[in-house]
Symmetry: D2
Subunit: 384 residues, 4 copies
């Protein structure tokens, strides 16, 4: 297969990032099967037409079912809001299309398991959008672990901190409503951390967590509640978590600590982790995504310390496709690399990684944490 014909559902932030990836892959990764941007789908006809024009799609539609019936579509890319993922994935699988679904796969573990069964039964390729695996510095961490250069892993700790909710007047958008978003910081940000933990360290066995909604009410959008009366805007309850933390044990013996929050002032997008092993340690922070801090316990005694490695050298993953050493890349490149993996996997007739199995595993941990919070106890991953 030299080409992969794509139909995409969704056209906002992630739709833009995915579209750009399809545009960039053929130029920077010419050996990968070439994506053909056939059709983009969205509910608002005018907006989706404009997106098609701006992003470079051949056509557009407002009917995703129609898109699935087209013979000239090989791959369905789903980045619409989470609560519609399930239905589209099931239909895509039924139509025999490969599926690229943004995280989280679904609002519940049960749904995501059903989605996994569907794509596996259909025999199609399936990928889930855990893009942070594709940061070159994260790949370097993985390589160091796989080659045993960090030794046996003792500690994994990770944080995904943002601060866009620090203003209590920030309105009650859909992401703050459980019925639409399913979850708050936990599902949105924590899901990424859990997937990175799976990728880097392996499976967890049990978790215990806590969460909080610090700002319990927020102003309703004017589109819902009308203009303020006497200078006060009508408010509604925030029904998802502002922050969720949990402890975990890994099957390999490591101790894990996780935190997701949207209310940590000064942290715009601090998706960070640290790993300590018997031979070395690494530290990563997405706000400095080109860097990995690396420590080796067997460095000479007088020059031990964390090295700041700029993962832009030819020996680093994906670096040769881009620019000379020291010329850094940005957020969107994680999406491009992810897309490369997807297209390569389709070309090689294998499952891409991470796929729906990884999506389910991540969701399983999310729900085990929720169970542990509800019942105020340690929860086993196996019990959910």
């Amino acid at each position: 297969m030299k080409q992969v014909r794509v139909g995409m559902i969704g056209y906002k932030f992630m739709g833009k990032a995915h579209s750009h990836a399809y545009r960039d892959v053929p130029m920077f990764f010419p050996k990968v099967p070439k994506p053909v941007m056939k059709t983009i789908c969205g509910r608002d006809a005018e907006a989706v037409a404009q997106a098609a024009e701006q992003f470079g799609w051949e056509s557009c539609t407002t009917d995703w079912r129609e898109l699935l019936q087209r013979e000239d579509i090989d791959l369905v890319d789903i980045n619409a809001p989470s609560h519609v993922h399930k239905e589209i994935v099931l239909a895509s699988a039924a139509a025999g299309k490969h599926v690229f679904c943004e995280k989280p796969l679904a609002l519940t573990l049960a749904e995501s398991r059903k989605m996994l069964r569907a794509v596996e039964a259909a025999g199609v390729k399936h990928m889930v959008g855990f893009n942070y695996r594709f940061v070159p510095a994260v790949r370097l961490a993985k390589k160091l672990i796989d080659e045993g250069r960090l030794g046996h892993i003792y500690h994994f700790r990770a944080w995904f901190m943002q601060d866009w909710l620090i203003d209590p007047e920030f309105p009650l958008v859909w992401r703050l409503r459980k019925e639409v978003a399913g979850s708050g910081a936990h599902g949105d940000l924590g899901a990424h951390l859990i997937d990175l933990a799976h990728y880097l360290i392996g499976d967890m066995t049990e978790v215990v967590g806590m969460n909080e909604t610090f700002v319990k009410e927020r102003p309703l959008p004017e589109s819902e509640a009308g203009a303020p009366v006497d200078g006060r805007q009508a408010c509604g309850p925030v029904t998802v978590d502002d922050a969720t933390l949990f402890l975990a044990r890994f099957a390999g013996g490591a101790l894990g600590s996780f935190e997701a929050t949207r209310i940590a002032g000064g942290c715009r997008c601090r998706n960070a982790f640290e790993i300590n092993g018997s031979e070395g340690s690494v530290k990563f922070d997405f706000e400095r995504m080109n860097e990995l801090q690396v420590f080796f316990a067997d460095d000479p005694g007088d020059v031990q310390g964390f090295r700041r490695v700029l993962a832009t050298d030819p020996s680093h993953a994906y670096a040769e496709a881009w620019w000379p050493p020291g010329h850094t890349i940005g957020y969107e490149h994680t999406i491009i690399h992810e897309t490369v993996e997807l297209l390569q996997a389709i070309g090689e007739d294998r499952q891409p990684v991470p796929n729906f199995r990884d999506g389910v595993k991540s969701q399983q941990v999310l729900e085990a944490v929720d169970l542990s919070i509800a019942e105020r106890r340690w929860a086993s991953i196996q019990e959910v």
Copy 2:
């Protein structure tokens, strides 16, 4: 009281640091009651005599009970190993001496409560050695919180990471044996984090934790087990934790996350915390103890970011006693400042802070964490 006559029990690492503090206080803080270094006490007559000479004590003894009987001693400074604290404190209180006791107060909460009752009944001054409160950058964090400049506090997270146990051949020293040390990383390092949390954020209400001993056996010291046979040294079991982590809720509503470990490669003495509030955030790392990272949510939109504040300006606590701005201080200064507080409190006839009440509170949290680990559940601070 213009002078405070000191008798000190202990002469190793902390004995050296305390001795130096007594020497430095009169020079840099001349308005504080002057400590007089009367007698130092230790079990090894030769070693303690040498310490007396080197550190500048007037005399030395091997009998701490004798020391307590002397009329010319106002203050007893106890930095001998933890398992002897209780007996000495009780006797000191009975003798009507002020007491400066290193942390942890005792091996158990019950013991430390008994010690608190004793000093309170005796009406003497009592201090516990939580020296990290006395870092100028930590004082600045406290000031920002007290003045409301961080707003309502949402998050407190803290780590005390060391790496001296990363080598599995590191021997089974007394700190790794429960019967002598009481606890491992939890009581040694975690206790400091808990005290900082109390100081900066306030009381906790409940905790849940986990711990691990990664290296379960270590070589016995030659003094115990003799030389290696066939190149292999006899080993013994490590009976304390290498690492303990826990989550906590604060009475004020903040979420807490704590980690103490002695096996985090590359972290020589990373005693660090982060605080996020509704108006701002701070970050601290003892390896860069002169710095506080400070973020304010109301900075102009185009120049928001963490500021690296060097807490060496005249407006910072203790700074004027030392050197011009930018001329940093080190670890030992925390002990000097702590001693200033103790001597000032004695001079002003008030209890120093932190005192045994703080020591008990810290131990209460330590034990609640241990309970939560033993019973695999959240434990209330009140129940221990």
Copy 3:
């Protein structure tokens, strides 16, 4: 003008970066006149055909003069090696085409002046490729200066450090030969620093410099010298500078310090500057290109310090075209932003900035530095 039809000469590193910019502009900056990628030109027919295919050009040619004769070309983009710039620019101007020329404009100041006269006489738009002006964090520095928030400027210091020449066995490529490259680190890297100084601080009046070629001979490429004999490769002399440093005075009174080197181990692409003014300071390093360190002298006394500003907020230049706060961008975005300026200027019928006047000014300083080195004295900018 809704479209700008482009013919490009060159297809290596910069050709790739420029091509990508033409592809990305319509998607991320839809209001800018749309570039149409008509023809790409290079000497190697096979290679340029492959580049045309991979980068997305409609056609290709090996004859740049033919390209200039085409009626359907509005803009000529020149990123071929420096020693051919002059001839192509003069011909492009004669053909009435807009010109986008990579830096340095030419091998000598005299040539670049001739080029400037040619494009001005022809009345076409002209731009020179000083892309670092288009880093959002650099734009923020400029904004702070223009708004007076740094006060009167006292100091500007800048370094462009790379380390690809640290290995003495690195071969004698064309960049190390004066007849082809014109200059070494000075013209390649120093030229960027000089342009940033002009952009941020203004004109210089006089300079004094020094330079050095540390590794005076390097192995000839096998293509020239054949395979090694007895394990030794034939060597040739390096005829350009490994490093050039100079001091400068600015017309506005500031003191300047500049350094360009390709032999600074550990510096992959450290294009960095610092500015100190009467009200504040900034620091920038391209290896962390999304960040600007900002200090204000009127911050409250207890919280003074450099802030790490992540220039990814909506208030920062170009940021809204990309991703949410904290989602960083990379090297290639500087080229995209530069291209936006060029296309906008063509659309608005004004000269883009930086243009050939800036290119000449940069080259004037380069040559004044060379003069100062040759004659071991301060050289006035006006005298060259």
Copy 4:
């Protein structure tokens, strides 16, 4: 010689730092000859009496000549203002006393040469107070160079930046008057950089510099000019440099770049240098004085980068005298280590390092820079 009996002239900032060093040495470096704090001398009888009491000197005097006549003084420590150094040093040498003189040795090179001849003729030990050589992290840099681990040195660049003159209303203190201070930032701060360059890299052969006084007038102190009239304080001219920069060539072939300024906002005490060699690089900043950044060119390709080495391990200079790894030290420790070298040298009957030869060498470079500025040309070190 088991003891060294000290008489000290001066009791302000440096007098305090030196006094503290004499107090600390016996405790932390017990094998070094013990300093005995005999007499402290200053012009203000009351103030010096208080200093004697506070700092721990046995007696005090206002007559330094009397001090030199005392038989029970072995070492004269001179930290009075620079313009009195010469006379006291000559008299001390004549009296056969060892001399410890703060930098700069004198106001002129000619004076400092005379002082060197005097101490050499007298056969006494002599030391100059370049304390930054005694930072453990600086010692590590020196060790790496001496062991060849950085290879052949190509680049040395150094800055000493402070910001206490950023406020134009800061008064015209004596340090801003040439007749008393001799020089501004150049002699005060630049002298330290020059000495570090000599220590780390070796001799320079030629220099070219520039300087500036940005704030040309400042308010006179009220003690001189009386109170402000109509809200305006009388002003006087600043007669020393706010900033001096220069380029240098080293005898070993390295290129040097130096900058001293007191008006760089946000830099409280940024005494920093960078060294690039053929095998590696180091970076140092006194504001983080416990750290050295170290890069090795032969690190594996995928983990190259600057390591942050905390120079507090047992393998680092002076570290074992202090605290466990990661427990940092501060500014005053540089003075203590310097004093250890002095006392050790006296005990071993050898000249301490750095001594007056180093003081003269530093002053020679200072004056060569001044000459190059006056005559707007490169100046040879040999010609002054």
